[in-house]
């Protein structure tokens, strides 16, 4: 069963602020005319407002559009409430992102005790309204595998509940486009078109050899063949390979020193992220987007793993010395992550142990008294600009 909160952030805002209900609302990461819209309410969507549109352009389509700055704490709360509700029905719950999750009922027949799974779907929708608020809506999709459940959940938005089985699969596929299928966007659509697949039904009927050898040119072709037929191929976890953070500068005329301050803030944030997952890194990558020369990046792999904010920033700052001017966006990423266990004895053992103790003491103080209670003096004052925004994708840090 796939559960998807409808226009999650906009709906949560409408729940929190009753005066916004029934009005077109757009959520942005910063309240400026040039910021792109992260999500919008169904009232705004009905007026033609789309995600990724600049607020200024959206306002032309919908003059009454209300712009709000995102409030991640609220969305995290609703995420945890939804997860609590889902956990009541199965021990096999996997949250896919901040606004959607999957309940795997394949191993919980005893828990179901003969209940109809559609009834459970309706109950979850009802509980969401009771336990979070009356404006909350979600789509529920029920199917033999994760992929088809997600497809079912996207059929009737908002507030739908659909069941996709072998009996109505062809009928459902006949009513949607190729790009309505999760994982098929413009480029993949062109690849399918190149072998004469123009509709989901043709995709369903395609033989696995064509998909493997001509379309996907890998085992992914076989996976798609199985996925479309209801076999489970997506039940797997991906290990954490990288951790990063990026920031669009609040002004485009900052000095190099001011940009480095913000880079330092990002490095501290990334350092905390990897340590919170019990990891250490060997590589640091920095990127910048310049208004004149476009995208730039540099990376460095160290011989020894590191974990402290200072180590990450020292390498990031060194790499950033070659960054272009006229920067509008910066980012720091750590890669080659490994478990932060006691390393092999080193010639510099004392220094490493000292660094480890200081870092863990700082993390403990920050956990007790609030994030960034102790931070580098260089990043003093950057908090008002570099704010934590919505963590899309991974739910590790929620």
């Amino acid at each position: 069963m796939h559960i998807d909160l409808n226009s999650c952030f906009a709906t949560v805002e409408q729940q929190a602020r009753p005066m916004l209900r029934g009005r077109p609302v757009a959520i942005m990461n910063r309240r400026t005319e040039h910021t792109m819209i992260v999500t919008c309410s169904y009232e705004a969507k009905a007026m033609g407002v789309k995600l990724g549109m600049r607020f200024r352009d959206a306002k032309k389509l919908c003059p009454e559009l209300i712009g709000l700055e995102s409030d991640p704490a609220k969305y995290r709360f609703v995420y945890h409430k939804l997860m609590d509700i889902m956990n009541d029905y199965s021990a096999h719950v996997r949250m896919k992102s901040i606004d959607e999750g999957v309940i795997d009922f394949s191993e919980t027949t005893e828990v179901l005790q003969g209940r109809d799974i559609v009834d459970i779907g309706h109950e979850i929708k009802r509980r969401l309204k009771e336990e979070v608020g009356c404006a909350m809506r979600c789509n529920v999709g029920i199917a033999p595998n994760r992929f088809l459940a997600k497809t079912a959940a996207s059929l009737h938005k908002p507030d739908g509940l659909d069941v996709l089985t072998s009996h109505n699969l062809r009928e459902t596929f006949a009513g949607i486009e190729l790009t309505d299928i999760t994982g098929i966007a413009g480029r993949m659509e062109r690849r399918l078109n190149a072998v004469g697949i123009y509709t989901p039904l043709q995709f369903l009927d395609a033989d696995p050899v064509t998909l493997r050898k001509m379309v996907f040119k890998s085992i992914c072709g076989d996976e798609w063949h199985q996925r479309l037929r209801g076999w489970e191929v997506d039940k797997r976890d991906f290990p954490m390979r990288t951790a990063g953070r990026q920031y669009v500068l609040e002004k485009f005329n900052l000095t190099h020193a001011e940009i480095l301050q913000r880079l330092h803030h990002l490095a501290e944030s990334v350092g905390y992220k990897i340590r919170s997952q019990g990891k250490q890194a060997r590589g640091v990558a920095v990127h910048a987007r310049s208004r004149s020369t476009g995208y730039w990046h540099a990376r460095h792999m160290a011989s020894m793993p590191f974990f402290s904010n200072q180590a990450i920033y020292a390498q990031a700052a060194q790499l950033f010395a070659n960054a272009p001017s006229d920067v509008k966006e910066i980012g720091v990423t750590c890669y080659e992550l490994s478990d932060n266990k006691d390393p092999q004895l080193s010639l510099f053992g004392d220094e490493l142990a000292r660094e480890r103790h200081i870092t863990s003491a700082i993390d403990e103080i920050n956990a007790r008294y609030g994030g960034r209670t102790i931070h580098s003096a260089n990043t003093l004052g950057t908090d008002m600009y570099v704010k934590q925004k919505i963590p899309f994708g991974s739910t590790r840090y929620l």
Partner: protein, 89 residues
């Protein structure tokens, strides 16, 4: 844009504490100016941790404007931190 005003006012609050999914329900509050606001609906209550300190955010309305009240569960204090009245610019 939506007209939100952010503030940090200490307020007097009348609240009920009961059982159920939402045990704490603010009913009305008085701002430093003396104005009393009757709460007609609680939109959302969500907790936010500031280190080990727990703040409970109540997004409420009086039917004319939306407000955010913050209850500090350690100091047992209430603050009004936001007022939104949706006046279009």
């Amino acid at each position: 844009m939506n007209d939100e005003t952010f503030m940090n006012e200490r307020i007097d609050v009348v609240a009920t504490f009961g059982v159920g999914l939402n045990p704490c329900t603010p009913v009305r509050f008085r701002r430093p100016s003396g104005r009393v606001i009757e709460i007609t609906e609680i939109g959302l209550r969500h907790p936010t941790e500031q280190g080990k300190r727990m703040l409970h955010m109540f997004d409420v309305t009086d039917g004319g404007a939306d407000y955010r009240l913050e209850f500090d569960s350690e100091r047992l204090t209430w603050r009004l931190t936001m007022e939104g009245d949706h006046v279009e610019n």
